[in-house]
């Protein structure tokens, strides 16, 4: 019996390894759980075998599809599962150890493309990014689109050094606070016990403050291509500095890259982002991307007083009622909607483009973000109250 147990364990182990490669985080503990589950479940049919493993290995709804694929490929040999169930004495899965099953192409791609990129980066010539003080001043004001490679490298460093926003919202949770307004009876009583109950020294509670979640929606269409990379660096810096930052990229479709961007090394994080995105530097469909965001993500990421950064030039080809409708919905589901538009760099910018006109009434703030100076200003704005000069209504009035 011990030998058959070993075979089963081995198969489950290989299966777990395949799942891990496909992107489902499966720890060694889960393998032990799976074996325990199989032994208590008295599996009688293929379906039960499937759902038993599913119960243990899948911890997220999105992973169900991956699991399903992996299961089909791994246990593809006809009658294999039935044999496994019947005897609990299975052979080792066909070639599972050495040659991964053909369907695991995605795994291979994921593994090898990552390696290639890292190699390539190493072979790149290092750019000397040290600049003098006056150079730095020029850099502050220079448009990202006009920067040379060296300047961009310097800008990246500057972004990494930016003091990041510290905005806070009050939560309903209470913590000990000397200047609070509620009496903490528990601590008061404990403190007075120390003195034998003779002295009552009041202790207070106040509301806890916490950074609200930040959600960035970044346009990666062709017209924004000069800016996207640096914005991604900016978002990477923010993501690493505070909790609860969600980053979604959109061109013609919407991609959530929050997990990819959370990696420590900015270059690796950016490489992981681009690996996830299919529509880099293509067209824009703002309305449909916002629709998908409102429907699938808004209810999950816009809780607890979230601030939304919408980074786009607003050049939407088919600006119609749906764009207004989706903008309105987005505006109503977050605490503060800030539109960052690199086109505002032109002093003569007017809200003439139809897309811009449609979107303007629904944002709380419209800010330029085309150089380091404006980026630093944004950080200050995020830390404090909304600034007056960036009221989108001013922009609309100017046109009228």
């Amino acid at each position: 019996m011990a030998a058959s147990q070993g075979r089963l364990a081995e198969n489950i182990l290989y299966f777990a390894r395949a799942l891990r490669a496909a992107g489902i985080p499966v720890g060694p503990g889960a393998v032990l759980d799976a074996l325990e589950a199989l032994s208590v479940a008295h599996v009688g049919a293929r379906d039960d075998f499937y759902w038993t493993l599913h119960a243990v290995f899948v911890k997220r709804h999105e992973h169900t599809a991956l699991f399903d694929q992996a299961f089909k490929i791994f246990f593809r040999k006809r009658g294999y599962i039935e044999k496994m169930i019947a005897s609990m004495l299975p052979e080792s899965a066909p070639g599972s150890a050495k040659a991964p099953p053909p369907g695991a192409q995605r795994i291979q791609e994921a593994l090898f493309s990552g390696l290639d990129q890292r190699e390539q980066r190493k072979s790149n010539v290092e750019i000397d990014a040290r600049l003098t003080v006056s150079d730095r001043e020029v850099l502050q004001k220079k448009d990202f689109a006009q920067m040379s490679a060296a300047e961009i490298a310097a800008a990246k460093e500057a972004i990494a050094r930016l003091a990041l926003p510290l905005d806070e919202v009050r939560t309903r949770r209470l913590v000990a606070n000397r200047h609070g307004h509620l009496i903490d009876i528990r601590r008061t009583l404990r403190a007075s016990m120390k003195a034998g109950g003779a002295v009552i020294d009041l202790k207070y509670l106040g509301p806890r403050v916490k950074e609200p979640p930040l959600v960035a929606l970044l346009d990666i269409s062709g017209s924004m291509s000069e800016y996207t990379r640096l914005f991604l660096h900016f978002l990477h810096a923010i993501t690493n500095a505070r909790k609860r930052v969600t980053t979604l990229l959109f061109g013609t479709r919407l991609t959530n890259v929050s997990r990819a961007i959370r990696q420590r090394d900015p270059d690796e994080a950016l490489a992981a982002c681009s690996a996830n995105v299919a529509d880099w530097s293509g067209g824009t469909r703002i309305a449909s991307s916002l629709h998908v965001f409102n429907k699938q993500w808004a209810r999950r990421v816009l809780t607890q007083g979230a601030v939304v950064l919408l980074i786009t030039d607003g050049l939407e080809r088919d600006a119609d009622d749906t764009l207004a409708f989706e903008m309105d919905r987005l505006h109503r589901s977050c605490r503060r909607l800030i539109w960052l538009n690199p086109l505002l760099r032109f002093s003569g910018f007017e809200a003439r483009a139809k897309g811009v006109q449609t979107m303007l009434p629904y944002v709380d703030e419209l800010r330029p973000v085309h150089n380091l100076e404006s980026m630093a200003e944004l950080v200050r704005a995020l830390s404090g109250a909304p600034a007056k000069g960036y009221d989108p209504k001013l922009m609309l009035r100017r046109v009228a």
Partner: protein, 306 residues
Amino acid sequence: MADKTLPKSIDSTLDLLAKADYIADRSLATVLYLALRMGRPLFVEGEAGVGKTEIAKVLATTLGRRLIRLQCYEGLDVSAAVYEWNYGAQMIAIRLAEAEGEGDRERIEHDVFSERFLIKRPLLQALEPDTSGPPVLLIDEIDRTDEAFEAFLLEVLADFQVTVPELGTVKAPHPPIVVVTSNRTREVHDALKRRCLYHWVGYPNAERELRILRAKVPEISKKLSEQVVAFVQTLRREDLFKSPGVAETLDWASALAELDVVALDPATVSDTLGVLLKYQDDITRLDATKVKVLLDEVKSELRAAE
């Protein structure tokens, strides 16, 4: 008493749930059976109104256990979830001790922080032994609370114990049956999910939804039930902000029963749409003509199936 013990197989788990009119699919029965057998918490996620909370309620009634519910909300803290001291009674006890001339500080402290003055909240209650067996602990809508509370739950769910600094550690002699639900308004941390068995509760297919409806609202005719289910299933295929859940289907069927409706017609559907759809945008999207189109579709579909 035989039916009060834990089910012995996946099939008997299905039967157990069906006894309380909960029509589950086999995947849910499998994960539930495993959770019961392995003594692991069950983590269920899904859209609102698909019967997540109901699982715990049904388990409690069919197994004859006590149901302890912890409704999560933003700002939930230890004094509302685990325990609180009865300060008023403690104050009186201190005064009385003073009046009696009890001067021993240690003694007073020991007396005041004893179990007599402890108010037990849901999590602590769930760890106590119960004559009818370990209770069912329902931690409802965990996504509404914050990460700090999740981290606290880790200790409770892993070892089924809670530490009260003044008293010591309270450990459950028999672990409770734990069901954690989430509406997914926020992603719950992996560390918590890792300790649980996970299941996504989706919308049921037409056949199962019909069985649920027949079991829960038997007062409407079979024909109307079929129409109701077919209409709701068509609605779910539409691009709506919030698709109607099973709870809405049942509410709608009850509403139709109250109105003595025998068969669906466009006017009735339009008038009662507020029971099914809870967003103004969705209701305006489904104007009279659209309702008529959908209804005709449903009716021809049903006729074809006959």
